[in-house]
């Protein structure tokens, strides 16, 4: 007997996953947004339930889906496998396709535009400008970016410029990786990129800096799917030649790696062999190092790091569904103790929490995490996502770093230079 498999069964499995919803409301009890605001009725309602009323040729039945932060907690807790977050993201995109994208969301979606304008030797001026209360108030009134929302400071140099001009270029080795730095590392936190490169090189990798654009996640989460697709296709085009040679893509921004792996292909319905190949060969940095360790290739000759630090696995990392690779590696560092946060989300969810109408929601969502970090008494918190780090610092006053910086320290690698 033969069975007819629909040609686009991946698409069908997403769209039809709503039929697996048994209305148990587990997602509603886990949703951090509906817990703090009445504006979002919960994942079940705007996801599988409202989806029955959405047709390509009809107006979407309910605008409240825009209050979904896209943290994907609903997907993880769903016992029947409904792709709730994807349904919500696509519903938002349908609204954007009909009503257009606001100037604010267009700006927030293009983090690369902003970064390119700001990250330069003139960054201190731009930063002063952006931290000015009056300007922030005007920005809030005119554009809709919350005046108190955390915005990162531009770097005086980009990661790419540092990499190209570094005095000790990466040694040519037999084992190579492509480093996907993402916009945040390039324009705001080039130091993180340097640290990641040094950790990879320390483990014997030649690090390649491929051409790359924004991963497109800010556009995806603002519903601008057509624009996001251009970025994703560009990235796939740039990364594919390496992947075809068996060179993996490794990133430190867990939201960028998630986008390359799954968010862009799934949300945009792109399932070509090329796109799949890039997705299957992209790794979050600690996920990659954990695999290296499983092969017995990771240097585990760690120096003691006598610290007890709060660690928040961000929602984008949880969405990889790979457990806690940073904990798996760092628990081998003598003297180090990481306190894992169980808060589902810090509230920023990429660009969600910087929007005027959502800032308070984001802060309420993050309240539990802020409390956890502050009660730890530590002056340093760890988190794998840049926007979450900024939000944690904003909500607590505690410095936040990527956990790779601790591994860097455990290897006894050079303390951060001034860069440039």
């Amino acid at each position: 007997m033969t069975f007819i498999i629909p040609s686009d069964h991946i698409e069908l499995s997403l769209e039809q996953s709503l039929d697996h919803c048994i209305k148990c409301n587990i997602c509603t009890t886990a949703c951090p947004v509906s817990a703090v605001t009445d504006k979002f009725p919960g994942p079940k309602y705007v996801g599988p339930q409202a989806q029955r009323f959405r047709r390509p040729d009809q107006d979407t039945p309910d605008a409240s889906v825009d209050y979904c932060s896209g943290c994907r907690v609903c997907n993880q807790v769903c016992p029947t496998g409904v792709h709730i977050a994807e349904l919500n993201a696509r519903a938002r995109a349908q609204i954007v396709a009909q009503k257009g994208l606001s100037l604010r969301n267009r700006l927030l979606g293009h983090s690369d535009w902003i970064g390119r304008m700001g990250a330069s030797p003139l960054a201190p001026i731009a930063n002063m400008f952006l931290s000015n209360g009056l300007i922030r108030m005007i920005t809030e009134q005119v554009i809709g970016i919350a005046r108190h929302a955390p915005v990162p400071a531009f770097s005086r140099y980009t990661f790419r410029s540092w990499f190209k001009h570094r005095s000790a270029p990466t040694a040519k080795g037999t084992r190579k990786v492509v480093y996907f730095h993402g916009c945040a590392t390039n324009y705001y936190e080039p130091e993180l990129g340097r640290i990641a490169v040094e950790v990879l090189e320390h483990n014997g990798f030649e690090v390649i800096l491929a051409k790359q654009g924004c991963c497109g996640l800010p556009l995806l989460s603002n519903g601008a799917f057509a624009d996001a697709q251009k970025y994703h296709e560009y990235n796939v085009q740039q990364l594919l030649p390496y992947v075809k040679q068996g060179i993996p893509i490794v990133g430190t921004s867990t939201s960028c790696t998630l986008t390359l792996k799954e968010e862009a292909p799934d949300l945009l319905g792109l399932h070509s062999d090329e796109i799949k190949l890039v997705a299957e060969n992209t790794y979050d940095i600690f996920e990659f190092l954990r695999l290296e360790h499983e092969q017995g290739r990771l240097d585990t000759n760690f120096r003691p790091v006598a610290l007890t630090l709060p660690y928040h696995p961000p929602c984008q990392l949880r969405a990889h569904r790979i457990g806690r690779p940073a904990l798996d590696i760092l628990e081998m560092v003598p003297g180090l103790r990481l306190l894992e946060s169980t808060s589902p989300c810090c509230g920023i969810a990429g660009t969600y929490g910087v929007k005027r109408e959502k800032y308070e929601i984001g802060m309420a969502v993050g309240a539990g995490l802020f409390d956890f970090v502050q009660r730890s008494g530590s002056d340093l918190a760890l988190c794998d996502s840049e926007t979450c780090r900024w939000q944690i610092t904003h909500g607590t006053g505690v410095t936040s770093k990527h956990p790779i910086e601790i591994l860097h320290r455990a290897y006894g690698l050079a303390s951060p230079s001034t860069g440039g």
Partner: protein, 423 residues
């Protein structure tokens, strides 16, 4: 970090197994597709209430079953094994400030949200005053805003069973109106003293001659006993919780308690990671693969507890050809041969539905067996509703089997493991 103790499933059985392994210092990893059936069920532990063993103490009924069905999981644990699991669970919940009452002596009969009567062996102390033997008039109180809980209907059904009862609706205090309501909304509100005060005052006014008041089981997440005590003081009546339709607040409390206990003891819980397949060699499971973004996550297995549930929980599934299969490791099953044999002729048939008897046959070590009676994987043990165990639905033993086999298998695995596997 080479190979690891893995528990598959986040229902009661998986949580109990993971707790046993964590407390033995084996740092288990619990993998689950989503939150387990704790969120779907009322939070009571039903050990056995079979119509085959009426009118006798619970431990006598269990002993009868153990004699009559020597291959039943209860028979393999014996009464001592059942008691050990119950003890650990009671200690755990008590330490978390959410004590359970009851045990192996007898079943307690509690009113349901429909006003039906349901026997159970272990119940949260917050439900204890619902025991129908206590006598006196019962007031059932609910909220129009909390769906699927109808006090007048529950009271009418209790009346029909000669239990004096009245049903009333409470009014949400000002400031608590929302577009929509869930059991969680109410649970969070009951943690606020002002809300409790307002509701307690209404209960006092509406109480009349009632000595006990039944409320939907939404009386807070963190300190439900404190909420009950408060409401008792204000209303002047005994307060008890009645389980609601899902999502179950008592189930959420249990999940929180287990999550905390397992992680503190060194275990890890990974939700959203459905185990899709396993890989073994020479009768030993070596790897399992869980669903993840872009590619499967591969786990190296030292030993594994399969606690994925039965037909209802998703551990056993069917396809359109009528095949019944175990979803995580594709273990051999005992199940009805054809689709025609799945169901009895009537929905509420007294003999139950054959499909609910589907399960993985195991040896007395709870290791899975193939059709020839050989152990499939020597380092895998099965717990909970995935087990072949007669008809747990008809026996009213689903949660009891989950709890006891989960603990039993976890401790069995911890003690039977070669020492070199312990990290």
């Amino acid at each position: 970090m080479t190979s690891r103790m893995i528990v598959i499933g986040a229902g009661l059985s998986g949580l109990m197994s993971a707790l046993a392994l964590a407390e033995a210092g084996l740092r288990p990893l619990l993998l689950a597709k989503g939150y387990g059936t704790t969120y779907w069920t009322g939070g009571t532990i039903d050990l056995l209430a079979s119509r085959r063993y009426p009118n006798m103490p619970l431990h006598t009924a269990l002993t009868h079953l153990i004699v009559a069905q020597p291959e039943h999981p209860y028979a393999r644990m014996e009464l001592d094994g059942i008691a050990a699991a119950v003890d650990r669970f009671r200690t755990l919940t008590k330490a978390a400030g959410y004590p359970y009452v009851g045990g192996l002596e007898r079943n307690v009969v509690l009113p349901t949200a429909l006003g039906a009567l349901r026997p159970t062996a272990l119940l949260p102390a917050t439900m204890a005053a619902g025991d129908v033997r206590l006598g006196g008039e019962i007031l059932i109180a609910g909220f129009h805003e909390l769906r699927d809980f109808f006090p007048p209907m529950a009271a009418a059904n209790l009346q029909a069973q000669h239990i004096p009862a009245r049903g009333v609706y409470l009014t949400l205090p000002d400031g608590y109106q929302r577009h929509d309501y869930s059991p969680r909304s109410f649970a969070l509100w009951f943690e606020q003293p002002n809300f409790r005060q307002a509701i307690g005052q209404q209960l006092r006014t509406l109480r009349g001659t009632a000595t006990r008041i039944g409320l939907p089981a939404v009386l807070g997440l963190r300190d439900p006993l404190g909420v009950v005590n408060d409401l008792q003081q204000i209303s002047g009546a005994q307060i008890f919780e009645i389980p609601t339709l899902p999502p179950s607040v008592p189930g959420m409390r249990l999940m929180n308690i287990f999550h905390q206990a397992i992680t503190v003891a060194g275990g890890r819980i990974q939700i959203g990671s459905e185990v899709r397949r396993g890989l073994g060699a020479e009768g030993v499971l070596t790897h399992i693969f869980s669903e993840a973004a872009a590619r499967e996550q591969r786990h190296h297995v030292a030993a594994c507890v399969l606690a994925t549930g039965g037909i209802a929980g998703g551990g056993i599934s069917t396809d359109f050809r009528g095949t019944v299969h175990e979803t995580a490791l594709n273990l051999p099953l005992h199940a009805p041969e054809s689709r025609q044999a799945w169901f009895a002729s009537r929905f509420l048939h007294t003999e139950g539905h054959p499909i609910f008897s589907a399960g993985v046959p195991t040896d007395d070590q709870f290791r899975p067996l193939d059709s020839t009676g050989h152990v499939v994987y020597a380092n895998v043990m099965v717990a909970g509703s995935a087990l072949l165990a007669g008809d747990p639905v008809e026996d009213r033993a689903v949660s009891g089997l989950a709890l006891t086999t989960g603990w039993h298998v976890g401790t069995l695995l911890a003690t039977s493991l070669p020492a070199q596997l312990a990290t």
